[in-house]
Symmetry: C2
DNA sequence: CAGATTATCTGGACTCTGTCCAGATAGCGG
DNA sequence: CCGCTATCTGGACAGAGTCCAGATAATCTG
């Protein structure tokens, strides 16, 4: 990890480490507000701007991945091996990871590319989590 | 169209029609600000709130579809036959439609559904449009 | 067609996320 | 230990959209 930071020409500051460890905590997909609070809890205090600066820097370095589900504010997750997708509950906005489906999915290479150079196909599955399902029935 | 409105128990007001026709204008995928301006041009004046109210009502009625690409504000498009996806330029945020790929794409039915009842698989392709490509090279 | 009902509109205050700015701090290479 | 800058801090500010309460105006009824 330290190596990753070094490679990206990122200094190892207390604030940066606080942000990183806050995201790695239980459960993934944290929003900026959560991270601000978690980091402050670790350091005593930290400016909101420093958190945003770090999130941006870490995303740019490829250490974090940022997702912006419709209806939620931006969420950050540690970038794992990769290219998994997300399944989001329409009721409570809970997010769970979905491993990338095996095999080169044909749907990820549209033939009509309109001249665009496509570099990523992002998939978001929408549904209702078990809890919200039972809540709806009531 | 009028029937659609009636079916959804929506009144036919001048404001509502202005919103609808503003979206149908050349090019699809309009944001709220564009619609506010377009509607005001047609009516002389219209409150921002009325525009939002209508957009929400029309989306709820299934007459409009709302997309929220990461990095852009919400965009609205008239709902066509359907289930096409979107290809967005990372440079200028331009959005073009991509027809749903033929055949039941296997990747759209994750086996590990975590107990969720999935009702939609949304796909967003990211890339660079022709124009932004040449701009980058310069 | 007049009256009643209530979906819609209006306008302004306000919230949430996130950004801009400029000066103060503090990692890290030498 | 020094100096260069990447980072931080704090506060003002901006964009997008929501909340509220009263005024309007489609539709429905008779």
């Amino acid at each position: 990890m330290l190596q990753l930071l070094r490679q990206s020409n990122l200094r190892m500051t207390a604030q940066r480490l606080a942000v990183l460890s806050s995201i790695d905590a239980e459960g993934r997909h944290k929003d900026a507000e959560f991270i601000v609070n978690a980091a402050r809890q670790r350091l005593g205090s930290m400016s909101r701007q420093a958190v945003y600066d770090n999130l941006h820097a870490l995303v740019a370095a490829g250490i974090l991945r940022r997702i912006e589900p419709a209806g939620s504010s931006a969420l950050y997750e540690t970038r794992v091996a990769d290219n998994h997708h997300h399944l989001i509950c329409r009721g409570c906005q809970a997010v769970v990871d979905i491993d990338c489906v095996v095999g080169a999915a044909p749907c990820l290479e549209p033939d009509q590319n309109h001249g665009y150079v496509i570099d990523e196909a992002e998939i978001v599955f929408w549904g209702l989590c078990p809890e919200c399902q039972s809540q709806t029935k009531k």
